[in-house]
Symmetry: C2
Subunit: 202 residues, 2 copies
């Protein structure tokens, strides 16, 4: 059985979400989002930097959320969560899937580090403000792309998990303003999904 090494409020929620959407059974190693778990020798043997998610599948050990999503869908079936290569939705699917780590997560990481993770005296106000500006800019094209649409690439897809998860995190950071109504409605729509709720509760 697949074993997911997980911590709450992290990118490993994406994998929980995917597995629940696919109705696939899996074992969850629920760690604390804390160095005592993530930087333990056990976990560093899985990921040298002590990050999550890591997926274990028999002899296979794999990290990076985007890679794990692709791995699961390629080896076990995508359940219709990935458009066919010749589908007109295929380019948008790929683009928004990769946009999550390429554009949205880098400023989110900096905001997390300088609000929650570092003690107040080590936070960098300048870096924090720069990251907030950058995140606002990165979210605007998603809001535009969602004009008149429910999902990023046709019907609900894994791109809505990968970038939807980052969008939900952006909302929790207070970064989805009144000027982004499509994105706000999208985040609401995603959060109606039972698999999304289970992912954020895990």
């Amino acid at each position: 059985m697949l074993k997911l090494h997980h911590a709450p409020n992290s990118r490993s929620g994406r994998i929980v979400w995917l597995l629940k959407e696919l109705d696939m059974p899996f074992e969850l190693n629920a760690m604390a989002f804390h160095p005592k778990d993530l930087k333990s020798d056990d976990h560093r043997a899985r990921h040298p930097l002590g990050r999550v998610p890591v997926l274990e599948d028999g002899d296979v050990m794999i990290y990076e959320s985007g890679a794990i999503m692709e791995y699961i869908m390629a080896r076990y079936g995508d359940g219709g969560l990935k458009p066919a290569v010749d589908s007109p939705d295929f380019p948008a699917y790929l683009q928004w899937f990769h946009y999550s780590e390429g554009m949205v997560m880098p400023p989110i990481n900096i905001i997390m580090v300088n609000t929650v993770l570092l003690p107040p005296d080590r936070r960098d106000e300048n870096a924090l403000n720069q990251a907030k500006r950058l995140l606002g800019k990165a979210l605007a094209p998603i809001n535009e792309a969602l004009e008149g649409k429910e999902y990023l690439a046709g019907t609900f897809s894994a791109a809505d998990i990968q970038l939807g998860h980052a969008s939900i995190m952006s909302g929790r950071l207070g970064m989805i303003g009144d000027d982004m109504p499509n994105l706000a409605a999208y985040v609401e729509r995603l959060q109606q999904r039972p698999a999304c709720q289970e992912a954020f509760a895990a």
Copy 2:
């Protein structure tokens, strides 16, 4: 014919590299890495934030380097640059492909911003040093993974383009130290490839 919107010393070099490895003809729109080109109305119509690469393929317009790599290989054939789904190299291929934007590029971006892109009086020394530490940590697992290996996932693959390009950039930033001999040799090896040389000259 495919049309690549490109600027030198940017992620769009990855697409030049891939297309040259695949021996595919394409048209190059070579812009300057400067706001006058990248933030022009013409280019903002292709990418709302004025980034590169953007690939145009008839009616299709797609951005994000990882997405474009996947798009080209899926629609036009991967030329053996992507392991089959049932190959033992498949998980490592996916992991290292995604590791490029997930772990290596975020600190590279911050280093670029605070050394080359911002004027000296607006650079953030603290953010720069934090990014250098983070990049060093992110490169170490690649150095380890290359122990006794020529490439990241079996024979040369698109993961070696996506993460190899980021590794070469790291080397140019002086971030591959004597403690990472496998990574240094790997970067040398990649730079022997004519397609890599053409990509960095474009």
